[in-house]
């Protein structure tokens, strides 16, 4: 308000110190020849011939046109002729400014009550300043007010409005960048009907015909509304403006992305802004680390980005990045996640009611949406941190039609390794990742999106063995709108993950080992808005897997290594699904979905056959049967149910329940604690059954303080079948009968999750607490050796208590601080139960898998975010992040282990970060 008052005073000063000319424009004569011209053409014609400068509100004119024919006419006649019939007026001041206004002319004389502090005055002052182009924000405000007051007539105009509903659809976009606004609420008040925009910013809503006020709300966007007169089905695209975060407490409308209203349970979204505020090690904004602060999400330690969601293993998460599956989401021994924060828009984590369109993993879906490029201007950003540098560029290819965004990161982090524990000494590591996204609007009803992603890591871990791994993903997506009710999204793509290990120290045994997964997919998804009660989603997903589980080759001329190749594996997983979102009443709604999956394990392949009811061991191998190319070796099919319901007691309190079942046909086999880059992925085959899981969950949701505070309480119970654990001493790499090294276990997981989240105000953040257990059991002697004598044993990532506090406090627009604290129970480990002397050394004796725990974990981090000044017109915007990771310097154990050294047994506790780690990060936007 202060600013506006200043402008007002400025204008006043003009009026006071300059004699007012008023409407004396007789000195100007102009010639104008226009046919069906827009206001800007008229204005520019006049401005060229005079020294006048026009101010007007362009949206008021966007449906108006002028046809004028005048030769050397006085300006007054020309303007009167053009504007008066349209109910526009004009005023000219002695600065040769022309103000065109609707309804009435501006009075340039001083109001009599000018110097009295009057509230009424405000309106007037805004009216005036809005016409003056002082800076961008004011223009924006002007446009917005104009659009909000304008009446949009939709559908075939009729004199009499026929009763019944019509559908209105369109895109909600960010007015500044042209990007889609996801999850914006589009609703009318009476009757209360609303929808949220999808991931393309698209909405479709059926409302009674007639006049309405359409409200559009979204987080971080200024609330806006449109006056509409709905005659029939039609389209309305809406531009929204970003807010400059309000510092005072703001009241959030009940409709804003309400966790109360949706039937969705266990869905968590974090946008990139929040992710960037969470202090992380070395200041590398990290998506997956931010996800681990949410309730129900755990990780085995600092050097691991593998997530354990509600007692699920790391391979039970479907990590989707622009539709593509990312098999290894980590960089640098798992210290960082492989997503460039600059190109990411937000992360969605589904941990209980997983929509039927997703499938193939048991415990969660992590959906990462990348940003669309700016459709208006070329912009970019660059960042320099202690470990990585980033560069991003985005902009239009065809203005307002198509855009690109390209981002890359690379590291210079070798110095870091010398600071890490001995385990990393003499190691080398490097990585990079690249993103490219293209979007193109073919026409109003067709949009295409292209996404490409490439990541690569190389390291040698304290020895001469060189590891490298990488992801490559490309996808093409086409969104087609048939009509306001039916939309279709089709995507095709290819995902690749592979690793290579090579060692050349001993020339006779120098080797190179390769592994890769290649999958191609086709997905088509329909969204049909039947009526205000039913919304249907249905479609088909199909994935063709192609795995090369191991290719071992000699390296160098002297190598005697015998080439060995594990036969490739092929499978086709096809899922069809149907979901009905049924709004029974305002209070009660149900989402019922079914997904039917057919999985075919395909030839060519030689399959080992084992004796029935005996453990799968080499000794029990009966025969090997060969199948030709394309032959279906084994088919698994099963329906998966996705049910969830919500009952809202009132606007701020609801109860939700959900039940879902899942199948998983691709498994990672690992006997390491952390997700290692050398983990093998294996498809289900006649010897390895698909993993099955089902989960029942219940949640209570209550919002406080006008939705500024969201609280939720969820409980769940989960059953897992055929989860693969390894046998003692399993050899997983390059094994031709890998089924003999793993055992199918049963699992159960249960827990309670509590989340309190404050989403508005100076202070934002959340507190999450989880109590959960995950236990496994292997008690079937016909399946192989029993673990822990067939008793339930905790899994590697069973950490019963976990509490996280994330807080951000904004002191001003330019300065904020973040604090993050986390405590959790130590993870289970297998400790030696005794020692013995054997072959020259004392040795440790192990039993009771996961019988003990490492000490508890606690860490607190602090960061300060300093933004440069907020002037809009400057070439670059800078920001700094300065922080301290692990501020208390606690030596949190990553692992505890015993090792024989010089014949003796020594026990060690290993901490990855054993002290407080300061960091600084510099970002620049241009």
């Amino acid at each position: 308000m202060k600013k506006r008052l200043l402008y007002f005073l400025y204008i006043l000063s003009c009026f006071i110190f300059n004699p007012i000319i008023g409407q004396n424009n007789s000195q100007y004569t102009v010639s104008v020849e226009l046919k069906q011209a827009k206001i800007n053409e008229l204005v520019s014609k006049i401005e060229k011939q005079t020294d006048l400068y026009f101010y007007y509100d362009s949206p008021q004119f966007d449906s108006l046109s002028f046809t004028i024919s005048a030769t050397n006419q006085p300006l007054k006649i020309v303007l009167d002729q053009a504007l008066t019939p349209l109910n526009f007026f004009y005023t000219i001041d002695n600065q040769h400014n022309v103000f065109i206004t609707k309804g009435r002319a501006i009075n340039l004389e001083l109001p009599s009550n000018l110097f009295l502090p009057s509230i009424n005055e405000k309106e007037n002052s805004i009216q005036i300043t809005n016409k003056i182009e002082f800076d961008d924000e004011e223009i924006d405000a002007k446009t917005k007010i104009g659009l909000e007051n304008k009446l949009f007539e939709i559908g075939q105009k009729t004199v009499k409005i026929s009763p019944g509903n019509a559908t209105l659809a369109g895109y909600v976009k960010n007015s500044k960048t042209g990007e889609a606004v996801i999850g914006a609420s589009v609703f009318i008040e009476n009757p209360r009907i609303g929808k949220a925009t999808d991931q393309y910013g698209y909405y479709s809503i059926a409302i009674p015909k007639g006049p309405h006020v359409l409200n559009i709300l979204s987080i971080d966007m200024k609330d806006t509304k449109r006056k509409i007169m709905l005659y029939g089905d039609g389209k309305l695209n809406i531009d929204m403006q970003e807010t400059v975060t309000a510092l005072k407490e703001v009241v959030i409308s009940t409709q804003k992305r309400s966790n109360i209203k949706s039937t969705q349970m266990g869905l968590q979204k974090i946008d990139i802004k929040t992710i960037k505020q969470v202090p992380v090690v070395f200041g590398e904004a990290d998506l997956l680390k931010a996800v681990t602060t949410l309730p129900g999400v755990k990780t085995v330690g600092e050097a691991s980005t593998g997530l354990n969601v509600r007692g699920g293993a790391a391979d039970q998460n479907l990590i989707l990045f622009n539709e593509g599956t990312i098999y290894n989401p980590s960089h640098f021994f798992g210290l960082f996640s492989a997503f460039n924060p600059e190109t990411v828009k937000e992360v969605e984590l589904y941990k209980s009611s997983i929509p039927a369109k997703y499938g193939g993993r048991l415990s969660s879906v992590i959906n990462i949406n990348s940003r669309e490029g700016n459709k208006k201007n070329i912009t970019g950003s660059a960042g320099v941190g202690l470990l990585t540098s980033r560069l991003n560029l985005e902009g239009p290819i065809v203005k307002d039609k198509s855009s690109f965004i390209i981002g890359g990161r690379t590291t210079y982090a070798n110095w870091l390794l010398n600071l890490l524990p001995d385990q990393y000494k003499n190691s080398k590591a490097s990585f990079y990742d690249l993103n490219l996204n293209l979007t193109h609007e073919i026409n109003k009803n067709n949009n295409v999106f292209f996404s490409g992603y490439l990541s690569n890591d190389q390291f040698n871990l304290n020895n001469d063995t060189l590891y490298s791994y990488g992801n490559k993903n490309i996808s093409l997506k086409w969104k087609h709108i048939f009509n306001n009710k039916l939309t279709k999204t089709t995507s095709i793509g290819n995902d690749y993950y592979g690793y290579n290990i090579s060692s050349s120290k001993l020339p006779p045994s120098a080797y190179r080992l390769g592994f890769d997964i290649n999958q191609s997919y086709f997905k088509t998804h329909f969204n049909y808005y039947l009526n205000d009660k039913h919304t249907l989603d249905f479609g088909l997903n199909s994935v063709l897997y192609n795995l090369h589980p191991g290719n071992y080759k000699p390296l160098g001329n002297e190598s005697l290594v015998k080439p060995d190749r594990i036969e490739a594996e092929k499978a086709l997983e096809t899922g069809i699904y149907f979901t009905d979102h049924y709004e029974i009443s305002n209070a009660l709604s149900i989402d019922g979905g079914i997904r039917y999956v057919i999985y075919n394990y395909l030839g060519p392949k030689a399959v080992n056959k084992y004796a029935n009811n005996l453990p799968k061991t080499e000794g029990n191998l009966l025969s090997t049967q060969s199948y030709e190319n394309g032959k279906v070796i084994q088919t698994f099919n099963a329906p998966e149910y996705r049910l969830s319901m919500r009952y809202a007691f009132n606007e701020t309190f609801s109860v939700k329940g959900g039940y879902n079942t899942q199948q998983q046909y691709i498994h990672s086999l690992s006997n390491t604690t952390a997700m290692a880059p050398t983990d093998i992925w294996k498809l289900s085959d006649p010897n390895i059954k698909p993993q099955q899981g089902n989960q029942i969950s219940l949640g209570l949701y209550k919002n406080l303080q006008s939705n500024a505070i969201e609280t939720s309480f969820e409980v769940y119970y989960k059953n897992i079948k055929n989860y693969l654990d390894y046998k003692s001493g399993a050899e997983l790499i390059l094994n031709h009968h890998i089924e003999t090294e793993v055992i199918a276990t049963k699992g159960k997981a249960y827990g309670v999750e509590l989340l309190i989240k404050k989403i508005a105000g100076k202070m934002t953040g959340w507190v999450s607490y989880t109590w959960s257990r995950v236990l496994l059991k292997m008690d079937d002697p016909t399946n192989g050796e029993m673990i822990n004598k067939g008793a339930w044993y905790p899994s590697n990532y069973d950490k019963p208590h976990d509490i996280t506090v994330i807080g951000n406090y904004r002191f001003s627009h330019r300065f904020s601080t973040s604090l993050n604290a986390t405590y959790s129970t130590g993870r289970p480990i297998t400790l030696p139960i005794g020692i013995f002397y054997y072959l020259g050394s004392y040795r440790t004796l192990y039993a009771d898998r996961n019988g003990y725990r490492i000490p508890d974990y606690f860490r607190a981090d602090f960061a300060m975010n300093i933004e440069g000044n907020h002037k809009i017109y400057q070439k670059t915007h800078n920001s700094w992040t300065i922080g301290v990771y692990n501020i208390s310097g606690r030596k949190n154990p990553y692992s505890v282990y015993y090792i024989a050294e010089k014949g003796r047994i020594n026990g060690y506790k290993l901490s990855i970060f054993g002290s407080a780690i300061p960091y600084v990060n510099f970002n620049i936007r241009f």
Partner: protein, 393 residues
């Protein structure tokens, strides 16, 4: 676009760390039977050592005494081993038939009976050579073995490195201590008065010997030829190993595939732990079982093969640029009176040589040189002054 300027703040932090961990839990006293040693089917001795597992904090060996161990053949043959102290059971030149299978039978003094599975005699080709390669300033010793039959072999080696080294100074004198323990009287005298110039070689010449403590195993499963080239021992630069003479003896044992997996699991559990991507520890199952209670854990794996040995000798003359450090030794000159010796801290030194003396008798010591014990007594550096039986003269 403006140029980007940035400052990386100098950060002096030690990130990770490794601390000694004391297990908070008291481990149970397990007392499982441990059977160590491979059966030598050929020439030479077979040594089986019986012990018991102990709890984690108990560092005392618990040997199993009074057991009866025999090697029983499928052909009903039986060879009984002889018990020695320290849980050792020894047999000489067993001469097992390579076409037969044998099993290990153990009856403990408490009457518990343990049997191994029947195992075949593994082929074991002689070691071709032990080769040397300079690595990081030191010398790496590799074993080369080739099996002409090209069948896959699983190897284990045991090494014993022995080296002779000398004290920096020789000593022909010693203190003769008289008087009372409270008021000793020191006097330097010749060690060998009959041959006054003779030095005490028991202080001067020492031998040190170390056996491998880490498992040395390798296999040719993934190679086209059964040809092995595997590092066994490393002589670090600046060590005294090569100063005079160095020798390494390598014993090569071949294992069955299952036996090798047993060793490999021991190695993974006890030597390859602690890095971030290492496999988690696992239970250990051998091929020896309690006849009456098959669930009783028994640690050990009966394995039969001939044992191949090879010994080589090395010294620094074989390496042109071998650098060995010279330990600086100071020589003090002392007057041979007890008061002087005590006053000048000569008591802690070892007298080495007689000083010049005009008009002295052949055995008189008036003034003498002395040096620190570490410079004179080689046994203080860890070795022994007993010459190994195999050591060349």
């Amino acid at each position: 676009m403006k140029k980007i300027f940035f400052i990386v703040l100098p950060l002096l932090v030690i990130l990770g760390c490794r601390e000694i961990f004391e297990s908070p839990v008291k481990s149970p006293s397990t007392g499982y039977l441990v059977v160590e040693g491979a059966i030598n089917s050929g020439e030479g001795s077979t040594i089986i050592i019986l012990s018991r597992t102990t709890s984690l904090d108990d560092k005392k060996m618990l040997y199993e005494k009074g057991a009866i161990i025999s090697i029983e053949g499928e052909d009903k043959s039986s060879r009984v081993l002889k018990e020695n102290p320290n849980g050792q059971y020894i047999g000489q030149n067993l001469g097992l038939n390579s076409n037969q299978k044998y099993q290990l039978k153990i009856i403990t003094s408490r009457g518990k009976k343990y049997l191994s599975d029947f195992v075949a005699v593994n082929i074991n080709q002689p070691i071709d050579s032990l080769s040397l390669k300079r690595e990081n300033g030191g010398v790496q010793i590799y074993v080369n073995t080739q099996n002409s039959k090209n069948s896959t072999n699983y190897y284990q080696w045991e090494t014993e490195q022995t080296w002779e080294y000398h004290a920096e100074m020789t000593s022909a004198l010693k203190y003769e201590i008289t008087g009372t323990p409270n008021r000793p009287i020191y006097k330097a005298v010749y060690r060998f008065p009959k041959t006054p110039g003779t030095i005490d070689s028991s202080l001067f010449m020492c031998w040190e010997s170390v056996s491998n403590t880490n498992l040395l195993i390798a296999n040719t499963e993934k190679l086209t030829k059964d040809l092995i080239y595997h590092p066994l021992a490393y002589i670090p630069p600046n060590s005294n190993h090569l100063n005079v003479l160095y020798s390494i003896n390598v014993r090569q044992i071949t294992w069955s595939k299952e036996g090798y997996e047993f060793l490999d699991r021991i190695q993974k559990n006890t030597e390859k732990t602690g890095s971030i991507f290492d496999a988690q520890p696992s239970e250990l199952n051998g091929n020896i079982h309690n006849v009456d209670d098959p669930t009783e854990p028994v640690i050990g794996f009966a394995n039969i093969s001939p044992i191949q040995e090879k010994r080589i000798y090395l010294n620094r003359k074989m390496f042109d640029d071998w650098y060995f450090p010279i330990f600086y030794c100071k020589r003090d000159t002392l007057v041979n009176t007890s008061a002087y010796i005590i006053a000048n801290e000569g008591v802690d030194l070892i007298p080495i040589q007689n000083g010049d003396c005009f008009g002295c008798g052949p055995l008189d010591v008036k003034v003498f040189f002395a040096a620190e014990q570490l410079c004179v007594d080689c046994t203080l550096k860890g070795g022994t002054n007993k010459r190994p039986t195999f050591w060349p003269k």
